[in-house]
């Protein structure tokens, strides 16, 4: 076990845990944002640089600070490490810079984007970005590509997090897509305009943090905040899929089916394309009840829930901090998603 101090809060985690996951054990507003890291996908992380933190002391043995900011999603904890995230002005400034970089080639077409309302980039920019841009040049654009009958790729919105590449690598038998080109001209592509056709390909939609990969059966049907998420399951015959999903209702209609996600937007269990695209009748499913949505999310506009704080952490905090936390609960709270 290693004990680290994250933004002044002590937490003990098993050796080999990353700083980001240690912070997630604390929960709340101090958790660094992550645009490319995805726990279920091995090898992901380190690319978007959104989660950069300052290590003020490397470990108990070697308490020197690390010379550069480190990506918290891939840096493992050392006993006695002291990490600064929201308490470091440098980190906050750099994060503002990262938002700016991610947005310079992003079309900012949120009003017509299906991801709006559940978009990691939107949340990230809202929390850390500026409302204006210093970028005056032409933005990078691509043509939309249909990769198969069910998924559309809109590369213009992509932030090259590589999550879908890892899904293709780790979940599906034949990888047919990857990153082509380099620099700001690199793009997610299917070599020779191939289609992505296998039972788990739909998961690339779920992992995409932005609206670059969208579900063609859902596109333009409804704004996500007008829909109601319900957890449901069915007995799925597909190997490796156990049919645990979230159904998104508008009135009595199931408009789309997604995998269930935790409070950090990470898929808990992968689902197959049959569940995702073909089962859109309530009669196909056994309903379990409303899916929990982060109260800060726009999707939760009509059913706020009371914040639940991590009692373990509160016990260790100075009283003034607890009062402050109770009065101004952080935007993102841990342990909300059942």
């Amino acid at each position: 076990m290693a004990k680290i101090t994250f933004d002044g809060i002590e937490v003990e985690v098993p050796d080999g845990t990353t700083i980001l996951n240690a912070a997630r054990q604390i929960g709340g507003g101090i958790v660094p944002p992550a645009m490319c890291y995805y726990t279920p996908l091995k090898g992901s992380g380190g690319k978007c640089r959104a989660c950069l933190v300052r290590v003020a002391a490397g470990s108990a043995k070697d308490p020197r600070p690390m010379p550069k900011l480190v990506a918290s999603c891939i840096t493992t904890v050392q006993d006695g490490m002291v990490v600064e995230n929201t308490t470091s002005q440098q980190v906050m400034d750099v994060r503002k810079g990262i938002v700016e970089m991610l947005l310079i080639n992003h079309p900012l077409d949120c009003p017509v984007c299906d991801q709006a309302g559940e978009c990691d980039l939107q949340d990230f920019a809202f929390e850390h970005g500026l409302s204006t841009t210093r970028y005056e040049e032409e933005r990078r654009t691509f043509e939309k590509i249909d990769i198969g009958p069910l998924i559309q790729l809109h590369m213009t919105r992509c932030i090259l997090c590589y999550r879908c590449v890892y899904v293709a690598d780790q979940l599906t038998p034949d990888r047919v897509h990857g990153v082509l080109g380099r620099g700001d001209a690199s793009e997610i592509g299917t070599y020779i305009e191939n289609i992505i056709d296998n039972e788990f390909s739909g998961n690339v939609i779920d992992v995409c943090p932005v609206g670059a990969l969208t579900d063609k059966t859902w596109r333009f049907k409804q704004r996500v905040w007008f829909t109601k998420p319900m957890n449901a399951h069915r007995d799925c015959a597909t190997d490796k899929c156990n049919g645990h999903v979230t159904l998104w209702y508008k009135g009595k209609d199931v408009l789309r089916v997604t995998a269930r996600k935790d409070e950090y937007g990470e898929v808990k269990e992968w689902i197959c394309n049959t569940c995702r695209f073909d089962k859109k009748e309530t009669s196909d499913w056994t309903l379990e009840g409303p899916a929990h949505i982060n109260r800060a999310s726009v999707i939760a506009q009509n059913h706020y829930e009371l914040p639940v704080l991590n009692q373990q952490v509160i016990a260790d905090l100075p009283e003034s901090t607890v009062r402050e936390l109770e009065q101004n609960p952080p935007l993102r709270l841990g342990g909300l998603n059942g």
Binding site: K47, R49, L69, Y135, R182, G183, S186
Partner: protein, 446 residues
């Protein structure tokens, strides 16, 4: 006249063949190491020599070798980084094409020291003709029993392969090089783990520059202490400097570290002064990614000391008034050079070569290039000058690999030392965009 260690026999007829190379004392270090030394003794000599990585970062080579993890029953690798593609640097190409056996000899001795049974030379794809030369030389070495099974009856075996890259600057970054060597897309890896622990095929690996490896036979032959006597302080030995730009005699010079910069530029032994009798304006001392310095600061440090061609002296004053020795790509610019255009040109290169993996570099390099393009073509504003400094700062230190810094440093340094030129471009767009235009001092501003 400085001593020539690497290039002593470079002009001997037929030195690229095994026979002639052997006649001139070639492969002595292999015999000496394999027959009279243990691998650790070889590493010890390299440590004693104080040899520093010649690829750019200047990390002590012996220390790097010492970091190599040596778990039982796991193969280890020595990989030679011959992906020389830094603008202004062309020393390895010459070394490999003229003296292929020197590199091979260094690879054998180095691999023996590290306990590697298979080693690779990862060569830049554009240098196909050098690849052929190396392959021919390797075949000769195999035939002579210096490669393959049981070298010189010592029981030590080594296979050496040459692998061409596919034209990406980023593959000169050691972890991107390893990815590419493994047959993957050349994206730099997240560190740690460092290659010394998990490198090629997730095995302990040392990646060294061509010139570093080529220095190993000399160190083994002469002894580390003897090698350390050359040079100044922690900058020991000789270094190949590829001089280019507006000098009378561009070319590759082997210098003893410690030669004053002024002597290097103006003496007839080296560059022979600035061409056409013009005045020197600025120097990029170690390949395009190191900060540019104006004449006053490259010849003398901020404290007024003469600047020497050493790792320490060139970086004296940090990045405020100093630069780096880098890979030894010495680019001199005369008074007619437009610094804005030059900076834009560098930015164009880094924009083109960014791998696109991490966001600050992917987006930032393109942004820098576009704003500099605007400035160079007379459409910029004063605000743009601050903007590029700010963008460069946002890239620097926040990327996975050093390409981000390589793209940011030249821009930041150009504005730091030549801000007046950028302002001249903004104020006088007409003059600044005329062919061959460059800021020549206050007179033009009037």
């Amino acid at each position: 006249m400085g001593r020539k260690l690497l290039t002593e026999h470079i002009n001997v007829e037929g030195i690229n063949t095994f026979e002639v190379y052997r006649k001139h004392g070639g492969y002595r270090s292999v015999e000496k190491a394999l027959k009279t030394m243990t691998p650790d003794e070889v590493t010890e000599e390299v440590k004693k020599s104080g040899l520093r990585g010649r690829g750019g970062a200047g990390f002590p080579a012996g220390m790097k070798w010492g970091f190599l993890a040596k778990p039982e029953g796991v193969p280890r690798y020595l990989v030679c980084n011959a992906d020389e593609s830094e603008p202004g640097t062309f020393k390895d190409r010459q070394l490999m094409s003229k003296l292929p056996h020197l590199l091979i000899e260094g690879m054998i001795t180095g691999s023996y020291a590290l306990g590697a049974r298979t080693s690779y030379i990862y060569i830049r794809g554009e240098l196909l003709y050098v690849l052929r030369i190396l392959e021919k030389a390797i075949a000769e070495a195999y035939a002579a029993g210096f490669l393959g099974e049981n070298i010189l009856g010592s029981g030590y075996s080594l296979d050496l392969h040459v692998h061409p890259g596919a034209g990406a600057y980023i593959c000169g970054e050691e972890t991107a090089l390893l990815e590419s060597l493994e047959g993957k897309r050349g994206n730099p890896r997240n560190k740690p783990p460092f290659p010394a622990v998990q490198g090629l095929y997730a095995r302990p690996t040392v990646v060294n520059n061509v010139e570093t490896i080529a220095a190993v036979p000399i160190i083994v032959n002469e002894g580390g202490d003897e090698y350390a006597k050359i040079g100044v302080g922690k900058s020991t030995g000789t270094k190949l400097i590829s001089a280019c730009g507006h000098v009378n005699k561009p070319g590759i010079y082997e210098i003893e570290l410690g030669v004053p910069v002024e002597e290097f530029i103006y003496s007839d032994e080296y560059c022979g002064g600035i061409w056409k009798g013009r005045d020197l304006k600025a120097v990029v001392a170690g390949g395009s990614s190191v900060p540019i310095l104006p004449k006053e600061l490259i010849l003398k440090t901020a404290a007024g000391e003469p600047r020497l061609m050493t790792y320490e002296s060139l970086s004296d004053g940090g990045f405020i008034t100093g630069t780096m020795l880098g890979s030894g790509g010495f680019i001199a610019m005369d008074e007619t050079t437009c610094i804005v255009k030059n900076t834009w040109n560098y930015s164009r290169f880094y924009h083109h070569e960014s791998c696109g993996q991490c966001s600050p570099c992917r987006e930032g390099t393109g942004w820098l290039e576009k704003v500099l393009h605007r400035l160079e073509h007379g459409h910029g504003s004063m605000h743009d000058i601050d903007l590029i400094v700010s963008v460069a700062k946002q890239i620097e230190g926040n990327t996975i690999c050093p390409l981000g810094e390589a793209a940011a440093w030249p821009v930041a340094a150009a504005v730091r030392h030549f801000r007046h030129e950028f302002e001249w471009h903004v104020k006088h767009p007409k003059e600044a965009t005329m062919p061959g235009a460059a800021y020549r001092g206050a007179a033009v501003l009037a």
